[in-house]
């Protein structure tokens, strides 16, 4: 098969690149203490939160942008970004949500109304910086589950916020986390009380809509003892010639016997074939398995963004706690992804599993970077990592950078990685059975990702599959 045909088949077109035509309420570009106070005020935040933001800002000023990742991009002018943008009409109930936003969500395949009624999934939708609607909150409340925007949580649940925010990702953890701590505008807060198994999937959809804005959401999920929650996030952005910055922070805390399953389908605008436009996705995600036998599981399907820099991690502090990371990252066009995980084993008999599948096509550059660290007290710790790369074409790259550090002799760390291409033999076999080239490529790629998709909640597995199909769409000769 000719290379450009494969490229066409792999790249498809960005299907979510529409722009919603709604009035925005945006601050002028730039960052200083006044902007921070403005954001804080706009969100009716208490003084302590304003102070925390300012503290983070001062720390951020002293920090340097990291450049160790295997990605290249034009320098970011942090003063050219607008740090707050909200749809002007803030809806009170779903009926009041701007019909254009609802329409936009339908284009994204998330009709809020329908979701509310049919799928039994609670959705928090964030457009640019503001949570536009949280469905199902009332039903969840009866179980004591809190599912609301982070702004509401700061107002309504200050004790929980003070206790857990910054407890997993300190405000000065890294450059982008510090920036986020300074300007975070919205995001989701979830609290599952002791012994409660959340009866439905919780979900947030993020969309960057306005021009020249960054999105800085912050998500905090706390699962109290013996509880369970499965949380999903999805994202998209319109096509723009200029790159936009997305620097989110996600913190998860699992107490004794609790389990958090966090799934991401990331489909930010990937830019064009020369790397023009697209989202810079610089995200800090970390989970803390604080209690004994707690479990945190990250599953991600990353198909969008021009640059991705993210390492959803687990700190396995509680004895017997479990961390998992399942990832599919696709880079086509001129996308660059440097993604992976960190599994920090501190407690006894902790275990972690990493399965990472990278797919590179066209000029895409895909790096897996992972750290597995076994502390000296992590008696009986176990880790297994498998990192496979699939290359399509001679201009792409697949890179594997695992760091394995073991200080306990009663632990076992295993890492395996392979690099393969779609073999002509496989492709031919499928085509000889009458399956066209595009479908054959798609089938082989799905097969390659299967172990990861198996860990997504069912509805999202279907979505991930069709998203991959969209990415692969495009006629083949």
């Amino acid at each position: 098969m000719a290379q450009e045909e494969i490229d066409k088949a792999i790249a498809g077109d960005y299907k979510l690149g529409f722009e919603i035509d709604i009035e925005q309420d945006t601050v002028p570009p730039g960052l200083n203490e006044d902007v921070i106070r403005f954001i804080s005020k706009k969100k009716d935040e208490p003084d302590w939160m304003t102070e925390l933001r300012l503290k983070a800002y001062r720390k951020w000023l002293e920090m340097e942008e990291p450049h160790w990742a295997n990605v290249e991009y034009e320098p970011i002018d942090y003063q050219a970004i607008s740090y707050f943008s909200a749809p002007k009409q803030k809806p009170k109930s779903l009926d009041e949500v701007d019909p254009k936003i609802l329409e936009a969500y339908e284009k994204l395949g998330i009709p809020l109304e329908e979701q509310k009624q049919l799928q039994g999934i609670a959705v928090d939708a964030v457009v640019d910086s503001v949570s536009v609607k949280t469905t199902y909150a009332d039903e969840l409340k009866k179980l004591g589950i809190i599912f609301c925007s982070i702004s509401e949580a700061i107002r309504d649940y200050p004790e929980l916020i003070k206790k857990y925010m910054f407890s997993v990702v300190p405000m000065n953890d890294n450059f982008y986390a510090a920036l986020n701590s300074t300007v975070f505008t919205d995001g989701t807060f979830v609290y599952i009380p002791k012994g409660v198994r959340c009866p439905m999937e919780l979900s947030t959809y993020f969309r960057i809509n306005a021009l020249n804005t960054g999105q800085f959401e912050r998500t905090l999920i706390v699962a109290d003892e013996g509880s369970y929650v499965s949380y999903n996030e999805g994202c998209s952005a319109p096509m723009r010639d200029d790159s936009q910055l997305h620097a989110a922070v996600v913190e998860l805390v699992a107490l004794k016997d609790a389990e958090i399953k966090y799934s991401t389908i990331q489909n930010w605008y990937p830019g064009d074939k020369d790397g023009k436009g697209g989202i810079y996705n610089f995200v800090t995600k970390r989970g803390l398995c604080l209690g004994e036998n707690s479990k945190i599981s990250w599953t991600q399907v990353e198909t969008g963004s021009v640059i991705t820099w993210k390492y959803p991690s687990c700190i396995l502090k509680g004895d017997g706690s479990v961390g998992e990371f399942y990832s599919v990252a696709v880079t086509t066009l001129a996308q660059q992804a440097d993604t992976g995980t960190k599994m920090i084993h501190l407690g006894k008999n902790t275990s972690s599993t990493i399965i990472s599948k990278g797919i590179s096509a066209m000029k895409g550059q895909n790096s897996y970077r992972g750290l597995v660290k076994i502390g000296k007290d992590a008696f009986g710790a176990r880790n297994f990592s498998e990192c496979d790369s699939l290359l399509i074409g001679s201009r792409c790259g697949a890179h594997t950078f695992p760091y394995l550090e073991d200080k306990s002799s009663h632990a076992k760390v295993e890492h395996e990685a392979t690099t393969t291409k779609i073999s002509e033999e496989q492709l031919f076999y499928l085509r000889q059975r009458g399956i066209d080239e595009e479908n054959a490529v798609s089938m082989i790629v799905h097969g390659f990702c299967k172990d990861v998709f198996a860990h997504l909640p069912m509805e999202y597995a279907v979505e991930a599959r069709s998203l991959l199909e969209l990415t692969l769409e495009g006629s083949v000769g």
């Binding site: 399509i392 792409c396 950078f401 550090e405 200080k407 002799s409 990685a417 291409k421």
Partner: protein, 389 residues
């Protein structure tokens, strides 16, 4: 005369590695560079005829007749080596020791360090002519060189269709010298290079090796590390496939005891110009007790789809089922552990082609194994010299 290495680097307009330099991530390079050392003036001598090539503090004192050894200013330098100390060692040494291998050769090199608290640096360049077979074994004796920092390295150019086996056997005892080896290997078209390194002992040391693998050439790299005490020791390597159908296979085994740290930071890089290349890499580490520390970083950097590349890395303890099996047959635990450790090590040692060298390396290993924790250096070290003579 005391000079700091940092000043020397500044005067040469060169960067030195810092604790942030990725290739020295797990090795404390700054404290080594911060110290001041005496510098050693090399006094060239008449070269005596001998069975081995003997280099004392960077000066050739003995050499076999059949090889051509000379000092040279012109030399091969790789401009793309990842290690800053590689460039530094080339700049600081006006001359290198050139070894020209024109015919099939067995060469044993003894490096001897005698100067105390000194900065000892020199480089050799080994040219192996095309279609030629060379077997090179190098070992190091430096018990007297207390407090010295040795910055040594070779550039090995394996000509077309050449066969080269190069073995490094180095036991370092604490409170003697600390070496950084910064090597480069160019495997020219259809050549076959086998690299072995045996790093034993209870003191720090690092080997950095970069390479180019050209069309149809092959590099096999095998590393055995056995360290104890507070040693930080290991290998940082890059096997760089630059042309088509090049092959590499790398195997590292590490045995870590006490609170030692093992380092295996190894990159396989395949350029877009190297379709049809094959690369495999495997690292296995055994921690004999808690507090021993293995830092393993096997990396693949692949820039083309038409390749076969894989790596695997495991860190763990001795296999319990194997241990139990041996004990259930009446072998006591110490003996059983020893059998397993020796078996783990022997897989690499026995892979070498020369019996004499296999025996020498076995000897070094067992000497360290039985002397665990109480390694001592005999001042004159006749024993060591005897082994290779």
């Amino acid at each position: 005369m005391q000079e700091s290495i940092k000043d020397m680097a500044t005067s040469l307009d060169l960067k030195l590695p810092t604790k942030k330099t990725e290739s020295y991530r797990y090795f404390d390079i700054e404290s080594l560079l911060d110290k001041s050392y005496k510098t050693v003036q090399k006094q060239k001598q008449d070269i005596k005829d001998s069975k081995i090539l003997k280099i004392v503090d960077g000066v050739v004192v003995e050499a076999p007749k059949n090889i051509v050894v000379s000092y040279k200013k012109e030399r091969f330098v790789s401009s793309k080596h990842f290690d800053e100390l590689y460039r530094f060692s080339h700049k600081i040494n006006d001359e290198i020791i050139h070894i020209d291998i024109q015919n099939d050769t067995d060469l044993k090199i003894l490096h001897r360090f005698e100067a105390k608290e000194s900065f000892l640096t020199y480089r050799i360049q080994i040219d192996v002519k095309e279609n030629t077979t060379a077997k090179i074994y190098e070992t190091f004796i430096g018990c007297e060189a207390k407090g010295s920092f040795v910055l040594y390295g070779y550039d090995l150019i394996a000509g077309r269709y050449a066969n080269v086996e190069i073995v490094k056997d180095e036991t370092i005892v604490k409170d003697t010298y600390t070496p950084i080896h910064s090597n480069f290997i160019e495997a020219k078209e259809s050549s076959n290079v086998k690299l072995f390194s045996f790093d034993y002992g209870d003191a720090d040391g690092l080997v950095l090796v970069d390479s180019y693998i050209e069309k149809d050439a092959n590099i096999d790299a095998k590393h055995l590390l056995y360290v104890m005490g507070k040693a930080k020791r290991g290998t940082v390597s890059r096997l760089h496939h630059t042309e088509k159908n090049s092959k590499s296979n790398q195997v590292a085994k590490s045995i870590l005891q006490d609170s030692s740290r093992g380092i295996f930071d190894a990159t396989i890089k395949i350029d877009a110009t190297a379709p049809g290349s094959k690369a495999h890499q495997n690292s296995k580490a055994v921690l004999l007790n808690d507090g021993a520390y293995m830092a393993s970083k096997p990396q693949l950097v692949i820039n083309i789809d038409d390749v076969e590349a894989s790596h695997g890395s495991t860190i763990g303890e001795l296999d319990e089922t194997q241990l139990f099996y041996l004990r259930s047959r009446g072998i006591n635990e110490d003996e059983a552990r020893k059998m397993l450790i020796l078996a783990f090590a022997n897989e690499i040692i026995d892979d070498m082609s020369e019996n004499e060298v296999v025996n020498a390396v076995h000897n070094s290993f067992e000497k360290v194994y039985y002397g665990k924790g109480q390694l001592e250096c005999i001042a004159t070290c006749h024993f060591c010299e005897d082994v290779i003579l």
